[in-house]
Symmetry: C2
Subunit: 113 residues, 2 copies
DNA sequence: CGACATACCTTGACAGATGAGGTATCTTGT
DNA sequence: ACAAGATACCTCATCTGTCAAGGTATGTCG
């Protein structure tokens, strides 16, 4: 794991919402997807993931339901709500603004000082 | 303050080091500089700033000395050490990697996937 | 003389992340 | 038949960075 998790702190919710924008999903799958999409450089810890689900559900950004798997372990699916989509849009633009500011403050070779 | 501080969490040390790369400085000045360079969209809280100074000094990344102001409030200057410069370089590249991954995970329409 | 800027610092509390632990099912190799 | 590992869920105690709130002191301006 080459990415310091502390640097991603605070982006967990947006990352999960981003995944659920496309389709309903469940914890284990979301985790593996994040691992894959980050080229194995970042992995959400399970405890972090389930803490985030709780937080997002309490906020009304996602709702959950049990899958009807006939075989294998049961899956708890999550679905993003309209409020969740709004929150995602907002968090995405916040990320872009934050990214911009950090770039400036770190002197990431920015000539437009 | 339009930028959620929690999103910048973890970048405080790098931001301070980045400032000290150019010249020795003191707390109050660094804070104002950050405010200005972020177009007043982000401000380090004093408690956060002094906590960070303590952390950086303990780590050997910065050293401090009192200025010899004849008038006005005394100033405590900080100077970056060679180890601090190394740490800054490392943290800068970590930021670039993290930025890249968050962009991917948030689906920030990145064509170079 | 009061307000405000400059300049430093500490303490207690909060929130997100996480190591470590737990439960249960199914598959694959030996 | 059995062990190992993947799939799949969850909780709790602890750690760390942030920050509101409080404090001290000096200089300037109206």
């Amino acid at each position: 794991m080459s990415i310091a998790a502390d640097l991603i702190r605070g982006h967990t919710d947006a990352i999960i919402l981003s995944h659920l924008i496309h389709r309903d999903s469940y914890g284990y799958e979301i985790n593996k997807s994040i691992l894959g999409r980050s080229d194995h450089r970042y992995e959400l810890k399970e405890a972090t993931l389930y803490t985030a689900f709780k937080r997002l559900e309490d906020a009304g950004y996602i709702v959950s339901y049990w899958g009807d798997e006939k075989v294998g372990a049961r899956r708890k699916y999550y679905s993003i709500t309209p409020a969740g989509r709004e929150a995602y849009e907002k968090q995405l633009s916040e990320w872009l603004a934050t990214r911009n500011i950090i770039d400036k403050l770190l002197g990431t070779e920015d000539s437009t000082l």
